[in-house]
């Protein structure tokens, strides 16, 4: 750390949003410090060599929702940004068949027709409707939401803009949006499809990271959120950054540093210093005090409002809203080092279906049953698994001929009823391994090493409360106007100079960077306003 202890801005947390935020502030000329508690930046977006030669995306494992503006504005290409598309989805079925969808529409139609002629035709209509919904929702995602409770001229103008946008939508599109935002993924998909494997493959996007089943109200919102991702303008496409999401956050760190931001590692913030209702800096755990007129928390809302500051400094209603903000993480990871690629009984000798995602969740009942276990406080006996063997598209991830396989697993509720994750860890790992084995016989013999990441590990290592990967659930009352709390959806806090920029703010989680970017816009706009007022 430099000898100077005074900064224009201090960002707490070097996750991707903290890095994005710090980079923008530094780019705007602010003397910016990003403080990271761990020995590496990235937060939940890191890559670690946890087994010699094998690079694991320990937590988050794919790239899709990153806002394209950030790539350009922060000059990420210059620093090594490389999104490799993972262009297919392979869904094994319980009878040994599969649904394999790639990037060619006509090929997909024939593949779906093996399961349902009706659904093959319906897919075009579904894709078209989803595209329209994404087109309608994208402007909402790509702007700071109005403050519904503000009465300033700006607030009213922003609300009017929003109303104008919504009024401009075709009735069917707006209705579809509402049906998705409030309803279940299953109901929405039932409008289009009859085949279980087709519906289940699509419905899986509706449960990722959330404590909902595909038939729960609210899973539609999660489905929509994931469909808003894009790679190179292609909606719903997912990719893999070279070197994993850790490779991506290293790119972000280089960009931030190139703009002049300073990053310190292995440094923990104890609290934000507040004096007369405004922040003056942060105090580190070792007692050091660092001064800054702007302090930005990239941590989740619980930590931002109840741990980094004394809740007594805040309005009671806000504190109560944060208390009621739902986390209830329900996802886990199991990462494998593999001696070779698995084989699927129906595709002997083939391996190209591993260049995308492997979606283990073959029927709607399978997904719903997996959720049932979680509802009653236990992890799924037959879990949903979103797997990807990233070394197939980025060979640097593993030694030649070997592979890393990232498995995102649901459901794994943070709170086990009469159980303890540290005790259940290996048993859970076995369940995951057994499940994969049942679809890919021989899988177990390929496993060289496995890393189990429970929701408790996510909380302990990354700092995400209750292990929620989105820093707060994607529920309608926790989105847009209300993320993270009514009236505090514009990145400010009741404490002057103290801002929030984590995934617990609009638009939300996933490696999208939008919260970090919007927060920087708000901070810079406020700074400009206070300068002109002087």
């Amino acid at each position: 750390m430099s000898t100077s202890r005074t900064y224009d801005a201090i960002v707490i947390g070097g996750g991707h949003n903290g890095l994005v935020n710090g980079a923008y502030l530094a780019k705007a000329g602010m003397k910016t410090l990003i403080i990271e508690r761990r020995h590496l930046v990235g937060g939940a977006a890191i890559t670690e060599e946890l087994y010699p030669g094998f690079h694991f995306t320990t937590f988050s494992y794919a790239l899709s929702l990153l806002r394209p503006e950030i790539i350009h504005e922060l000059h990420l290409v210059k620093h090594g940004f490389m999104p490799i598309q993972m262009s297919s989805s392979f869904a094994p079925m319980e009878d040994g068949d599969y649904l394999w969808q790639g990037s060619d529409r006509d090929e997909n139609i024939h593949e779906i027709a093996r399961h349902s002629r009706h659904d093959a035709d319906a897919m075009d209509q579904f894709d078209h409707d989803m595209h329209q919904i994404c087109q309608a929702m994208k402007p909402l995602m790509d702007s700071i939401p109005p403050n519904l409770f503000g009465n300033g001229p700006d607030d009213l103008l922003q609300l009017a803009d929003l109303a104008r946008h919504l009024k401009g939508l075709q009735p069917r599109v707006l209705h579809n949006c509402v049906r998705l935002l409030t309803g279940s993924a299953a109901d929405f998909l039932d409008d289009y499809f009859e085949s279980d494997i087709v519906k289940a493959t699509l419905a899986s996007s509706g449960i990722i990271g959330s404590k909902v089943g595909p038939r729960s109200q609210g899973s539609g919102l999660v489905l929509l959120f994931h469909k808003l991702g894009e790679i190179d303008g292609s909606f719903g496409s997912w990719g893999f950054h070279k070197g994993g999401n850790g490779g991506f956050t290293q790119v972000l760190a280089r960009a931030a540093q190139a703009f002049g931001a300073e990053i310190v590692l292995d440094t923990a913030v104890d609290h934000v210093i507040i004096s007369n209702g405004r922040t003056t800096g942060v105090a580190l755990v070792d007692g050091t005090e660092l001064n800054a007129a702007v302090v930005v928390s990239s941590l989740d809302p619980r930590r931002t409002f109840t741990q980094l500051v004394d809740p007594r400094e805040l309005p009671t209603e806000l504190v109560d809203n944060i208390r009621r903000f739902r986390f209830q993480g329900t996802s886990a990871k199991v990462n494998f080092a593999l001696d070779g690629l698995p084989s699927h009984p129906a595709l002997p000798g083939r391996v190209d279906h591993y260049r995308g995602f492997v979606n283990i969740g073959p029927t709607m009942d399978y997904l719903e049953h997996a959720y049932d276990d979680a509802k009653y406080g236990w992890y799924s006996k037959r879990p949903y698994i979103d797997a990807c063997i990233q070394s197939t598209v980025d060979p640097d991830m593993a030694p030649p001929g070997k592979h890393v396989m990232s498995c995102f697993v649901q459901y794994a509720p943070y709170e086990l009823k009469n159980g303890d994750w540290d005790v259940e860890r290996e048993g859970f790992g076995d369940v995951v391994e057994d499940t994969i084995e049942s679809f890919f016989p021989g899988f177990k013999s390929l496993v060289l090493h496995r890393e189990i990441v429970t929701p408790l590990d996510i909380e302990r290592v990354v700092g995400l409360s209750e292990g929620n990967i989105f820093a707060g659930e994607f529920l309608a009352p926790q989105m847009f106007f209300f993320r993270p709390a009514p009236g505090w959806n514009q990145y400010r806090t009741p404490i002057d100079g103290y801002y929030q920029c984590g995934s617990g703010t609009h638009p939300g989680g996933c490696v999208m960077g939008a919260p970090g970017r919007f927060a920087s816009q708000q901070i810079l706009a406020d700074a400009a306003r206070s300068t002109s007022a002087r």
């Binding site: 790539i71 490389m82 490799i84 598309q85 262009s87 790639g102 303008g233 909606f235 190209d352 070394s391």
Partner: protein, 399 residues
């Protein structure tokens, strides 16, 4: 009847799409599987194998071979050492480009010249009394391009001396029992090599290289990706970015080397007494600054691209498929000042990019032009800037 290349036997079962390009009368895969990006990222992140056998190849031998090439090619072959290669072009006596190609110098009296179009009769007619013999060896050599960051590691695992080859050098090696010439050349703008082999060794060479690459993420790649990567590399293509002056119906269809961005080929020309075809016209063009165009790299302003589509309620398209039909360019006043000849969305640069021509006064890096875009059946324009080629230029290409 289309012919097949020395690698066809191996490529045919790998080409799942059934899509083939017709390249100089040969079948080469357009793509091996439906998503071009899989092959594309193999080039940029591991390595890819391209069948480039359909190139025309001429062997020039004899005591006067150097003198002949010094008089025919625009670049001075005498500056090219044995074991080196030169990217060059040849012009007509009015200073228009006939074609471009790569010349490989084995010794003072032994060369190989490659070109995309037939030039045998053209060169033959220029021999006169010189002691040089020209042989069309196009069908006698297969060519396999191995391109990407892992290309060197891959080939050196089979023939360690490949590791020592510098950019634009070539040498004879043996891959297993297969004798081949390897050159550190290519059309992708990446670290890469081309392997030149006798046709009867094609399958054996493929088995060796593809076998060694199996666990390295190496993939076969088709023409689509070759065209994409060459645009990023700023490498022009006959039939797309220029046309041979031999077959031009008017001077509008011809280009001078200066107009194609080959000015660097004539550095030091003033201090050289070498006579070559087109020299007088080229010198006059340099002196009088009569170039009509400059071929440049272009990068489309991403914000403006988004703006023109979003104001129409559309999601901005990002299509990686190269467009080689002309798209017009205008200046700030709406005056026509150029056109693109190859355009695409580049996944690695995350921008729409192009190779195009602009009037010389707008050719410096950073100059602003406006690219025509058709949106909802009406013309719009998008801000675009002139950029330095190669637009994608990793250090590994030459290191």
């Amino acid at each position: 009847m289309f012919k097949t290349t020395p690698f066809y036997e191996r490529l045919a079962p790998l080409n799942e799409t059934g899509l083939w390009s017709h390249w100089s009368g040969y079948l080469v895969p357009r793509k091996f599987q439906m998503n071009d990006k899989i092959e594309y990222f193999a080039v940029r992140n591991s390595a890819a194998l391209f069948d480039t056998s359909p190139l025309y190849k001429y062997r020039l031998t004899g005591a006067d071979a150097e003198r002949f090439l010094a008089g025919v090619l625009a670049r001075d072959i005498r500056q090219c050492h044995n074991g080196q290669a030169q990217y060059t072009c040849w012009c007509d006596d009015r200073g228009f480009v006939v074609e471009d190609g790569v010349v490989f110098r084995t010794s003072a009296d032994d060369y190989m010249l490659t070109s995309a179009e037939p030039n045998f009769a053209y060169f033959k007619a220029l021999v006169g009394t010189l002691r040089v013999s020209i042989e069309d060896i196009s069908a006698n050599l297969g060519a396999l391009a191995v391109q990407g960051p892992r290309a060197r590691m891959l080939l050196a695992s089979l023939a360690p001396e490949v590791a020592d080859l510098k950019f634009f050098e070539h040498t004879q090696v043996k891959f297993g029992d297969v004798p081949a010439m390897v050159s550190r050349t290519g059309y992708t703008g990446d670290l890469g090599f081309e392997v030149w082999v006798a046709p009867h060794d094609g399958s054996a060479l493929w088995d060796l290289i593809a076998g060694a690459g199996k666990d390295l993420g190496v993939l076969p790649a088709g023409q689509n990706v070759l065209v994409m990567t060459r645009i990023e590399a700023g490498l022009i293509l006959i039939g797309a970015d220029f046309h041979s002056s031999r077959f031009a119906l008017s001077d509008h269809d011809s280009s001078t080397p200066l107009e194609l961005g080959f000015g660097w080929m004539f550095n030091g020309l003033a201090n050289s007494d070498r006579r070559f075809i087109g020299r007088t016209a080229i010198e006059r063009e340099i002196r009088d600054r009569t170039s009509r165009w400059k071929t440049v790299g272009l990068v489309v302003d991403w914000q403006d691209w988004n703006r023109v589509y979003q104001t129409e309620g559309l999601i901005p398209p990002k299509d990686i498929t190269p467009v080689t039909s002309e798209i017009m360019l205008y200046d700030d006043d709406g005056v026509h000042v150029g056109y693109t000849t190859s355009m695409m969305y580049s996944p690695i640069l995350q921008r729409h990019i192009a190779i195009g021509r602009v009037r010389p006064h707008l050719s410096s890096v950073g100059s602003r032009v406006h690219l025509e875009a058709t949106i909802h059946h009406r013309y719009r324009t998008v801000t675009t800037h002139v950029a330095k080629t190669a637009l994608f230029n990793p250090a590994r290409k030459t290191s």
